[in-house]
């Protein structure tokens, strides 16, 4: 076999075979891309060409015989013996046939209009917010705003005033317009850095900074902002607590929030909502309730679109395989590898 032939043969092999060949031959071979791997293997093979070639041929032979002899052995293997082994096996072998594109695209279209039904978590949150502080952590687009509106309505029916804060001025303006439509313009006011309308209304929309300033002014006894009748404070987008520049404002607001007012924190999915709830429990008079779930209202499917216009599902399952990033659709995997080989300059390790 000439070097050119060998290189061609290597190039035809899948990367997995190359990695198996490189084991013990090339250091840190797992870092290298396919081209680099071939280069390194050829470099190495100059020392022991015959041994290298025979290994390669054995591997190719094994691979061709693989599907018939290999599969029963795999089925006998214990389900989860070792974490690493489990991942490798789940990545390399099909448990079910991967989902097809037509299957994946099924269900497209507009659902028939349905009467609005409260989600269980919304009922739970609304029941809790009348008694105590509540932290809500649910995926984007689950209907947090509905909870905010209902909670505000109930508080206003009991003649308690409500403050709703959002992190962005634009968002405050949108909410002001939205709430004015729902509750009537005389019931809703807005306070932002440069806009003050209807400041005596029972429902006030503001940015979190403004609320922080109000609380500071009230603490030093300068203004009377009817904090004694304040029944509910809704902090939207509470995950801003982790914002490097503005997060501190959320903390200040929560620390200085009057104790008779209930706090309602609305947040996108975050990793540690329990911590936030525990924190609130530790500093507020009543124990805080956490309402969380991670199921999306509209299910999500992930796809892969190749630059040549070919669309395939990204994962081998229809939905998102939670916790299994390796369950890629074979076609998407193949196309992406092709793409990487074409775009990455040779000799340059993958990022």
């Amino acid at each position: 076999m000439t070097t050119d032939e060998l290189e061609q043969l290597l190039a035809q092999q899948p990367v997995a075979v190359l990695h198996r060949l490189a084991r013990g031959r090339v250091q840190r071979h797992f870092r290298a891309g396919k081209r680099r791997l071939i280069e390194l293997l050829l470099q190495h093979s100059s020392q022991n060409r015959a041994g290298f070639e025979s290994d390669l041929l054995t591997l190719i032979g094994e691979r061709q015989a693989g599907p018939t002899s290999g599969s029963p052995r795999r089925h006998e293997a214990p389900p989860i013996a070792h974490k690493k082994a489990a991942i490798r096996s789940s990545e390399s072998e099909p448990s079910d046939p991967p989902v097809s594109l037509t299957e994946w695209l099924q269900g497209l279209g507009v659902p028939a209009p349905q009467p609005f039904v409260q989600d269980p978590w919304q009922i739970e949150a609304l029941a809790a917010v009348s008694e105590t502080d509540v932290v809500i952590s649910v995926p984007t687009g689950s209907g947090k705003t509905y909870v905010a509106i209902e909670a505000a309505r109930r508080a206003m029916e009991e003649n308690r005033s409500v403050i709703y804060t959002s992190p962005l001025k634009a968002l405050s303006n949108t909410k002001y317009a939205e709430f004015s439509k729902i509750f009537g313009p005389d019931k809703v006011g807005i306070l932002t850095g440069d806009r003050q309308e209807n400041g005596q209304a029972p429902l006030l929309v503001m940015t979190t900074e403004i609320l922080r300033n109000l609380l500071y002014d009230a603490a030093s006894g300068e203004i009377d902002v009817r904090l004694d009748t304040l029944g509910l404070v809704i902090l939207d987008e509470s995950q801003y607590l982790a914002d490097p520049e503005r997060g501190v404002v959320w903390e200040e607001t929560i620390i200085f929030c009057p104790s008779q007012a209930r706090l309602l924190l609305l947040s996108a999915s975050i990793g540690n909502p329990q911590d936030i709830a525990d924190w609130l429990t530790s500093i507020r008079s009543t124990p805080c309730r956490l309402v969380r779930h991670s199921k999306r209202t509209v299910p999500l499917r992930a796809g892969y679109l190749h630059p040549n216009g070919k669309l395939t599902p990204l994962f081998r399952t229809l939905g998102i395989p939670q916790g299994h990033p390796g369950h890629l659709h074979p076609e998407a995997k193949h196309l992406f590898m092709e793409y990487e080989e074409e775009t990455l300059p040779s000799g340059r390790p993958r990022r």
Partner: protein, 619 residues
Amino acid sequence: MPPSIHPVDLISALRQKHLTPAIVFLTSRRACDEAMEAFDHANCVLPTTRQEAIAKALEQVMARHPSIAEHPLISIVQRIGVAAHHAGHLPTWKIAIEELMRQGHLDAVFATTTLAAGVDFPARTVVITQSSIRKSRDFTDLTAGEVQQIAGRAGRRGKDHVGFAVITPSPYIDLSVLTKGLTGQPEAIDSQFTISYPMVLNLLKAHPHEHIQGILAKSFAQFQLNQRAEVLEQKLDALHIKMEPFGPRVCTDWITQWHTFDHARRHRHTRHPTYRAEPPEISARLPFLTPGRVVGFSRGRGIVLRQYRSKGQRNSMLTVLRPESAVTECPVTSVKEVYDRTYDCPETSAYPWCSTDTFDRLSHQLEELPLRLPLLPILVSSNNEPLPDAIVQSLEDFSCPTCPSRSACQKDFLTASRLRQEQQRHTKSIQALRTSLWHRFQERVEVLQTFGYLTLTTQLTAEGEWARLIRIDHSLLITELIRAEAFTGADPSLLAGILASLAHDDDRPGAFPRISPGLSSLLGQVRKLAESLSPYEDPPLLRADVAALVERWVADQTLTWIGLCRLTTMAEGDIYRLLARTLEYLSQVQTLKGTHAGLAESASQAITAIRRGVLEELP
């Protein structure tokens, strides 16, 4: 094959599979704008009925926000039903696009990943083209939370059965970041609590100094610090249990004792070998301690018979003839005096190291010595040898070598000292975790005291009373500027210009419009002050071009929005944000009516001057 899919192909592919409307997230504003240019001559136009619907909807929005009427992208939006939506656009444009998207007129919106959180409208599909995001000049991988926030825009409640997140590769994409982000759990969030100067002033205004520690303890920051401290405390408890077998032995603190002893031992062997152990005053004597020399000891005198080295001894040794013909061996260190008297004494190779005749003569001479003898002056050269360590000198002080628990100490020392070090480290970090916030607060208090905003008893001074109303970034610089009367007599445009340069924290370059000499000299003054304050507060960028831009907008009331945009290369949206932030800063200055009436007046004039044209369109 192109490195990434062409926008026109992307849209036709999405349309063909009925995956529209879609939001396409691209790396940069420029990528969005280039995608729009790509549609300029594309023939993927919409059917006329949809074009008319879009035109109708656009008209409605335009009636409310006239500033979008001349937007260059209008024709593309109408013909093809795609639009760009990023921070470079005016808020009114973004509102219009969001409105059209909600009504379902558009097929795709191209947005930047940086502002994924600001894209607050759902679509059927989101298209993800890269795995990293620009954060302050650097690209970092998207976190799982960010990937899910982006993917969260896919699927409209009530309008879609399913949402789609489509990944299409571009160079340097890392697919695993995205697949992990899609399938993983979002990250935990951490407190970003900082203690700013206005916070200190406001806290001290409302609460006495001794209550503050309790208030800081209520922060989420302290909550998380406590969590970490608790973990450490558990570790510390475990260490205590592990330390039990290593309690007090013969010495209470045997670990330290053994450590010093061990150290001294090792030290002696390596750095101070036996034959080099003499201090300089001893070694200076050695050349004079020759056979026949008369020397004095603490008790009595003697004559040196020979000088020699012995393997077991640290010092050079002497054989000395003592009174009554006694011959003794002693180290040189026991010699107290060296006298200026020698006798003839030829050395021999065996005991008594001189001939019998000489020995008898010397014994006799020793008895006959006068009571007083002159001392030999010996010059000690300082460069002779460095002083050996005090530890080595006191090695004999240790009782360790003969201690009954020596072997046990030696055996356990390594484990015990490692455990103890860990214990000490944990104790220190726990202490730091529990008190760090309070220390940071105290640091701020000290700075405010030196600048005269707080009295030594941490009461607010008259300066502090108004300074606490400035609750924005760079508050210390702003209050110091006001105290330095930098703005006295400055007209509203100058004030607005300076506050703009303080408020603008974006480093996207902009072209330089003409700057007035008044503003430029004031800016120099501000820069100087900012530099002198840099130990206490991060200095702002203080860009002169944005200051000049805002100054022109305030001073020249005939300047139109288009005219303003032509003065610079900054994007419309950036100019808008700059002016909006300047307004915020001005309104803070405006609250100082009570103490700085003139300044507040000029701030409110600047506010009315800024609010015109596009800025009036949005509330």
